[in-house]
């Protein structure tokens, strides 16, 4: 679905807009693209369910061998849900996502190199 990007409003959205009417109009446009309260609650319930699943697998002996992959998968899903819906990266201008993703990828790359250098993932 093509959605008009309300963030391309610059000064109004930066709150320096001289004209309150422009600010109000742009605020209405901004509101229209964000999820409804019901959708926010649905996402929160999914997050709670995943957290419950994390705690469950922690205590389950039958999934011990898959514990770490499962926990990282759950954490990644929760991270993505919060970033995409609650932080609106799914709905906002892609430039925000690019800056944030750049920070994450840079951090992952640098610290993966550090951990590999110190053989943290090597089996003892």
């Amino acid at each position: 679905m093509s959605v008009e990007d309300p963030d391309r409003v610059t000064t109004a959205a930066t709150q320096d807009a001289p004209d309150p009417a422009v600010r109000s109009r742009l605020a209405r446009r901004s509101r229209s693209r964000h999820p409804s309260d019901a959708e926010y609650i649905r996402i929160a319930l999914i997050l709670a369910a995943i957290t419950g699943a994390e705690i469950a697998v922690y205590y389950l002996d039958s999934v011990k061998s898959l514990l770490i992959p499962l926990l990282f998968t759950f954490a990644a899903i929760k991270f993505a849900l919060v970033a995409l819906w609650f932080m609106h990266l799914k709905f906002d201008n892609k430039l925000y996502a690019r800056f944030f993703t750049a920070g994450i990828l840079f951090a992952l790359t640098v610290y993966a190199i550090v951990l590999l250098t110190f053989r943290v993932f090597a089996s003892s």
Partner: protein
């Protein structure tokens, strides 16, 4: 006077399209700056989490994580912080609708949930110290307190910002067209939440091996 110069001097109301040209990206600089800041925070917390992982299971003296962690208790804290993310987006939705009553309710709820989380963390830290774990006891104590302490400071700063928003709203200085202010505080708050998602997994749920990321 030159005619073209006269045209430039004629005051007129800028259209939305013209307003869009007022920053080089066409986006609000302050929101872009917040995202760049959050990107840089990934490096800060990445360094702290990496340090914890690097030294996990390498303490030569106790107490060790398995002696101290209460997963049930920390799980409740995690649910509290997740719930605060929900109340934060509901606060943003409220101001975007112009519903200032609900804005204040949700902002206060978010701040209270944040304070509950911090209260839980203070209790946890206190009980760990009573058990003999301090910043200086061993590698686990140093890396654990620095990582979770930094996160706790971020949550505390977020609570102060939330209470400031409530005060601004009560003073009538947070009208509907200033919703971006609430959105920026919300971005910071959600970031603190996603950092906790990682900390909860890496620090609390993944069992400590002997210097490696291996299951018990």
């Amino acid at each position: 006077m030159d005619a073209s110069l006269g045209q430039h001097m004629t005051p007129h109301q800028p259209s939305e399209d013209e307003v869009e040209l007022e920053t080089s990206t066409g986006l609000p600089n302050i929101k872009l700056a917040m995202w760049i800041f959050l990107g840089s925070e990934c490096l800060l917390f990445g360094a702290l989490i990496t340090t914890y992982v690097l030294y996990r299971g390498r303490s030569t003296v106790g107490p060790y994580p398995s002696d101290l962690f209460d997963i049930g208790y920390t799980s409740v804290s995690s649910f509290v912080l997740l719930a605060s993310s929900l109340t934060m987006v509901l606060a943003l939705a409220a101001i975007q609708r112009g519903d200032h009553g609900r804005l204040r309710v949700w902002l206060l709820a978010t701040a209270l949930l944040g304070m509950t989380f911090i209260g839980g963390q203070v209790y946890e830290f206190t009980s760990f110290v009573r058990e003999g774990l301090t910043l200086h006891t061993n590698l686990f104590g140093t890396t654990f307190f620095v990582l979770t302490g930094f996160h706790g400071v971020h949550v505390t700063v977020g609570i102060l910002m939330l209470l400031s928003l409530v005060a601004l709203s009560l003073a009538g200085r947070l009208p509907q067209d200033r919703a971006l202010t609430v959105e920026l505080v919300g971005l910071y708050w959600h970031f603190v939440d996603i950092v906790w998602i990682i900390i909860f997994t890496v620090v609390y749920l993944i069992p400590t091996g002997h210097g490696t990321l291996v299951p018990r």
